[in-house]
């Protein structure tokens, strides 16, 4: 891969990382800690939303974030053909 392509691949990666880590921060530190009191005023079933995020929602978000990253990077790998010599899994 040429130098330019390599840098483009890396920049794509960094862009995905930034967006996903912002969501990661918002779901855990944001909803689960900083704004937990405000969110608790919204109720879903027996849960206050803040409590739900702190003990359930943030964990679901974490799983989805990794799934999203795996999907985005596999797509990027294909686009940049970064994995051409890799044996199939």
């Amino acid at each position: 891969m040429s130098r330019d392509r390599r840098h483009a691949y890396w920049r794509t990666n960094l862009r995905y990382l930034t967006v996903l880590l912002l969501i990661w921060f918002a779901a855990s530190f944001g909803c689960g800690i900083l704004f937990v009191e405000q969110l608790d005023k919204i109720r879903i079933g027996g849960f206050g939303l803040g409590f739900w995020f702190a003990q359930q929602g943030s964990i679901y978000c974490f799983v989805l974030l990794i799934v999203a990253y795996v999907w985005l990077m596999n797509r990027a790998d294909k686009k940049f053909e970064a994995r051409k010599q890799e044996p199939g899994v």
């Binding site: 390599r6 530190f29 964990i59 990253y69 790998d77």
Partner: protein
């Protein structure tokens, strides 16, 4: 069959399974011993990582801690899962691309320095030993409570099993036994949770059950009832927190970053064949972990509600069987202070004096008995607790063994050693590590409960920053990394030792630095590590060209296998 007979059957069956798997997956080469030949599928590695990661603390203690902490217990839930996002996005794919055997390998090569390698080895061994002692202790406790075996004999049996498959099979044997152990432990955790959820809310999914209404006809939500009972008895409201926001923030961050920096978890990502496999395997791992971690808060709420509705005001003469049984182990203590023959269980805000002390570990272990589930479920929980403790212990012992055989002997002192002797040394080191861990399990240093804060804080303050900078910042150099690791660890260890061991009487928010508890100080240690490493790197010469090229290489999932062979 009695509870004890069922427990014996469940434990014996699970042990036979682990031994069978270990014989089938023996390691023949150092590559198989350290990284299972690098041929583990992402799904298998995800299962193994989940078992590797979830220790006696996750299985036995966590739901209990949450049960007593209420909403603040979320620091453990978020902290011990959120770290996997950091792992999957920031560390695992690049470590896999680097593709050697250990974490100190990466630190030593990336920072072209034997000093950096040795500092990393010391951190890895220290973190792993503090952790593994607690696991062996957990094994002993499960044996003594469920099978009437002494703690010493329990630890010896556990040592024998781990010795067998870790020494024989290395990473290969450990990987496949961990897969079996995950299945045992998740089944053992979910079955009682589903039973209890159905009984209390008629909702079979515990994650939904603890947000549902009770079946007692009151029409109240379970959490409403729990908050009501808590207030009535003078405890803090369950769904409201009592820790300061800043402290919650720092503890959660320290646990997350610590998770991402623990060497026994990091090394698992060397075992998959590809970079994209490393990414997806972190996803599988978190999915399997999330299954237990989203169930644990439900178990905590169910158990707390049960406890608060049954126990307070109960006549001591009429206590259920499980109460007397756990009382005899010393985990429940009742002292009839007002002499009325009834149990007063109250919180700090109540005018009535509390007469009952309950160990938090009971919540999971006694839960099936409290909910009067069948005897085989009780036996299953014992087997699950052992699976959790043994799988983590094995992973940690491998880190210690590879640190000694590979990082110290092969890479530092005797580079000429043959493959065969290195493998032998790795096996002997694993064997010795089992013995040392067993010794600490039988004679625990007085601070086993404190080592969690220690291990996570140290991992957060040492490994995470240098690995992250090593990948994302080409300019990071040897001097920055070494000074960063030493200052991060030194600060964190100093703070914890000061408040936990030297001046435990000062261990309160008023004396803490910025109100950060010793559990959360690893976050500040990590920031110090970053600051020192970045400043010093900028003040000294940039890394040589071939190291910068190595970094470029790591960032691309081109061709797999060991990256540049650097002469260290």
């Amino acid at each position: 069959m009695t509870v004890q007979a069922w427990t014996f059957v469940m434990v014996a069956l699970s042990f036979a399974l682990y031994i069978g798997v270990a014989i089938w997956a023996r390691a023949g080469t150092t590559k198989e011993f350290y990284v299972a030949g690098g041929k583990v599928s992402p799904l298998t590695n995800g299962l193994a990582t989940a078992a590797d990661w979830m220790s006696a603390a996750s299985f036995i203690s966590m739901a209990g801690i949450i049960s007593f902490m209420g909403r603040d217990g979320s620091v453990y839930l978020m902290g011990w899962t959120g770290g996997y996002v950091l792992l999957a996005l920031l560390l695992a794919p690049y470590l896999r691309k680097f593709g050697k055997y250990t974490v100190p390998d990466f630190v030593g090569d990336r920072y072209y320095s034997q000093v950096a390698r040795v500092v990393a080895v010391i951190c890895a061994i220290f973190v792993s030993f503090t952790y593994v002692a607690g696991q062996m202790r957990g094994v002993g406790i499960v044996f003594s409570r469920f099978l009437d075996v002494g703690i010493t004999e329990g630890v010896l049996i556990g040592m024998g099993i781990v010795f067998f498959y870790a020494v024989l099979g290395g990473m290969k044997g450990v990987t496949y036994t961990q897969v079996a152990q995950y299945c045992v432990l998740i089944f053992a955790f979910m079955v009682p949770a589903i039973f209890i959820s159905m009984m209390m809310t008629s909702q079979p999914v515990p994650q939904l059950g603890f947000g549902s209404t009770l079946v007692d006809g009151s029409g109240l939500y379970l959490l409403e009832r729990l908050d009501g009972l808590s207030q009535q008895l003078g405890f803090a409201t369950y769904t409201a927190g009592s820790k300061s926001t800043l402290d919650l923030f720092f503890i959660t961050a320290a646990l997350m970053v610590g998770t991402a920096g623990l060497p026994h978890v990091l090394v698992r990502f060397y075992t998959v064949p590809t970079v994209s496999g490393a990414r997806s395997s972190a996803g599988w791992a978190l999915l399997f972990i999330a299954l237990l971690y989203t169930t644990a808060p439900a178990v905590a709420a169910f158990a707390r509600t049960n406890l608060l509705s049954v126990i307070p005001g109960l006549a001591y003469a009429e206590v259920p069987e499980w109460f007397s049984k756990w009382e005899s182990t010393g985990l429940i203590k009742f002292e009839d202070k007002n002499g009325d023959g009834h149990i007063q269980y109250t919180g700090p805000a109540s005018e009535v004096e509390n007469e009952l002390t309950i160990d938090r570990d009971i919540i999971v272990l006694a839960n099936p008995e409290i909910a009067r589930l069948p005897a085989w479920v009780v036996g299953l929980v014992a087997a699950g607790g052992l699976a959790a403790a043994l799988s983590t212990a094995a992973g940690l012992l491998l880190v210690i063994s590879s640190a000694v055989a590979h990082d110290l002997l092969k890479q530092t002192f005797r580079p000429t050693i043959t493959e065969k002797s290195e493998l032998l040394v790795a096996r002997i080191a694993a064997g010795l590590a089992v013995c040392v861990a067993g010794y600490f399990g039988i004679n625990p240093p007085g601070f086993v409960a404190e080592v969690v804060a220690f291990a996570f804080g140290l991992a957060a303050a040492s490994f995470f920053p240098v690995i992250l900078l090593g990948i994302f910042w080409k300019r990071a150099n040897d001097k920055g990394a070494i000074a960063g690791m030493i200052s991060g660890i030194g600060f964190t260890a100093g703070y914890i030792v000061y408040f936990k061991f030297l001046h435990p009487e000062l261990n309160s928010a008023a004396h803490w630095l910025f109100g950060i508890s010793p559990e959360g100080i690893g976050t500040l240690g990590m920031l110090i590590n970053f600051a020192v490493a970045i400043t010093l790197s900028l003040l000294t010469a940039p890394p040589p060209a071939e190291v910068q090229e190595l970094v470029e290489e790591i960032r691309l999932p081109d061709h797999i296998g060991p990256a540049h062979e650097l002469s260290a």
